[in-house]
Symmetry: C2
Subunit: 431 residues, 2 copies
């Protein structure tokens, strides 16, 4: 049996402790599967005295995480600190530069600095692995870089944030509104005290930027992503969507479009008959459209101790077995500068909810604006009847250019009879 | 760039031609991804003169497929002949013995001889890879051996035969019966002239035996699999299942049970609210229950030129990148002799349809037998009313030991008023 692979773990939160637990529980099984043992030699975290429920005494405690880099008893640095800048970035750079492999769960770091870090890893003949950064329970990085390696990928899309999906599910099941459910989710530990990273789509956007890079051989480019979160959705939207045969999901999509790549993260209506509509609670799902495989879908828990620690171990075991790949599936120097599509050019059906004063002539105003932008109405209905009070008008459109739909929306917002920001969502056919 | 990886392909049916097409279309992309070129050097098939729609002139034509083994210009033999015995087996054995890697789509060969072939591969330090043998569009072998390598696997289950799933979908959508749909499927090319391999569950059983081996570290053992196909299902069952909130799927399940492993392939009722119910037509789906990842699901096309050829290429690209694993995820000599559970001990809810004469006392006879076997009825209804003519009586049970259910069924079959073999199906909660 080859000599052990030695790990240094930076960050002992939920995931770091999960990695320790798996190695303590399954050390022999993993050694059998890899042909060598995997051993933790050094660890680092903010608070050495905290009881984390696992025995950490066999490992060297390193005060400054940066000192894990360059240690000659550490072959792989596991970075579980997080954040696109600061210690996490410094540690990853230093470890790669000193010839250590890096395994990380840090989507922000890679979404912002992925191309440079990939180059640094290759220059030093080491791996920068990040299965845990995207949808822990779904080995999507491996599947795209290896399982579908014989394919040209047309599109990758899916539900990439468990908190949002949990909230959308809870809103549907209870009929309660966003603010109530958010508060409950925070109390239950499913949402952070500052929830904006999740509910504004940023976390999911980081993940989409990484999937897009692998799919299309481009440098990850989070900045150019079009992102909208789920704050605008209320219980009425969810109920009406169901009546129309749809379910609302925060969907990230990266797709080849007119010779460039279209990237967008926003809530969409998906058909109830599509399996993605049944992906509920904290589950994630990723679809990949390829030229040979056609459409393949993976679903699993997106986060949490077990799934994320398992993803870290999957990367570690690849390294133990000698399976080292370029970070984004092709050599870093051949990653392309992406040409992003103007999503205003894309064509979809839309769902639109307007909160209007219930008085004669409102529907005429709305339909005139739609006509002026060449937007064809598929269905339109007013929900409720309450003269001179606010009611919802909901409509769905036939295929419409996004730019036209957005122009119409901004004109609706200017109408005196429209009382709130219109709620516009794409209907994603997923065919 | 390293020197090319050279392939010899045995069998130029749909899949073989698909492999040639992908390499001709994406040669540069694949070389970029692997760091070396993948080249076909030699090919072999039954008929050299047949027009297969691709240019085969650059490759050496080998009359006898066995002669691909041992050629010094072939690093990897791609076995696409099929069958558990005969030329396919001889070729794989000879290639492995002479130090060539083997990539195969041959589930029958591996389900019957997997343990011995895995040992032969390891003795010769070469890979025996078979991603294409199970659910082409789903990289389930890679996901289980690598993506979930840090997990103990509790269960693997799913829809593993596209022909059966296509037929069940068509029966549901058209309301037509088995024989009619089978004839249509044969005319459309979705079912073979001799369909028994598919519709009797044998093909899916081969695949389950392989997944079970990886999941539990056991020798694949097709012989001990409990298999039932879909011949007994009629349009009434499908309609009634929907009314009860279920859909009928041919489901293979391998699960840890009482310290051993339970393996069964049979049609089951699955809840409509579970994503697996939405896996329709020729799509396959595989669920894996792990200790850390919990439940993860993958779906995609199970067969066909593109998905299967892509799976072959995935294995080839692993070899090109130097990613070589033990056939079933652990060294062959550590594969265990499986202890299979007696599935008579398992407990499930059941669906039962009886074709009975519509006359007084029949329901009393049925419910007496159920009572005598301690089987608790959840629901019971007679469909239709036609005195002294055949009608359907359908019932669902609460949780029942399989052995008791089967005993009751054989007693039903002996009743004068029961006119056909009872149709018994497990209700699989998939919770």
């Amino acid at each position: 049996m080859s000599k052990p692979l030695r790990l240094g773990i930076a960050g002992l939160g939920t995931v770091g402790v999960g990695v320790v637990k798996i190695l303590q529980a399954h050390g022999d099984l993993l050694a059998q599967r890899c042909g060598r043992r995997i051993e933790i030699t050094a660890i680092s975290a903010r608070d050495a005295s905290k009881d984390r429920g696992v025995d950490l005494s066999p490992y060297v405690w390193v005060e400054d995480a940066l000192d894990l880099a360059g240690r000659d008893d550490v072959d792989v640095v596991i970075e579980l600190i997080g954040g696109s800048e600061g210690v996490a970035k410094d540690l990853v750079e230093k470890a790669l530069a000193t010839g250590q492999h890096v395994v990380t769960a840090n989507k922000a770091l890679l979404a912002h600095h992925g191309a440079a870090l990939a180059q640094l890893a290759e220059d030093n003949n080491v791996a920068l692995a990040y299965e845990a950064a995207v949808a822990g329970g779904i080995p999507i990085i491996k599947v795209m870089r290896e399982g579908f390696a014989g394919n040209a990928i047309h599109a990758v899309y899916g539900i990439l944030n468990g908190t949002c999906n949990y909230m959308l599910t809870a809103m549907r099941e209870t009929g309660r509104d966003f603010d109530v459910i958010l508060k409950e989710a925070q109390e239950a530990g499913y949402a952070e005290a500052d929830p904006s990273f999740d509910i504004d789509g940023i976390d999911a956007g980081h993940k989409l930027a990484l999937l897009s890079a692998i799919a299309f051989g481009v440098k990850p480019d989070f900045e150019s992503l079009q992102i909208e979160g789920i704050r605008k959705i209320n219980a009425t939207d969810i109920r009406l969507a169901e009546e129309f045969g749809y379910r609302i999901k925060l969907l990230g999509i990266a797709r080849r479009f007119n010779g460039s790549v279209m990237q967008v993260m926003e809530p969409c209506l998906v058909p109830l008959s599509n399996p993605i509509a049944q992906i509920e609670d904290v589950y994630n799902a990723v679809y990949v459209d390829c030229d040979s495989v056609e459409t393949s879908m993976l679903s699993g828990k997106g986060a949490g101790e077990g799934p994320t620690a398992s993803a870290v171990l999957s990367d570690v075991m690849d390294l133990a077995r000698g399976n080292i790949l370029p970070t984004f599936g092709v050599p870093a120097q051949s990653l392309l500068d992406p040409r992003w599509a103007d999503i205003g050019d894309t064509v979809s059906c839309y769902y639109l909810r307007l909160c209007v004063l219930d008085k004669p002539g409102v529907i005429a105003e709305i339909s005139t604006i739609l006509r002026d932008h060449d937007i064809s109405i598929e269905g339109l209905s007013q929900h409720g009847r309450d003269p001179d009070q606010p009611v919802s008008v909901v409509l769905t459109t036939h295929e419409t250019r996004r730019r036209d739909m957005q122009k119409a929306c901004s004109e609706f917002a200017n109408l005196d009879s429209v009382l709130e920001e219109p709620c516009l969502m794409r209907i994603e056919a997923l065919s």
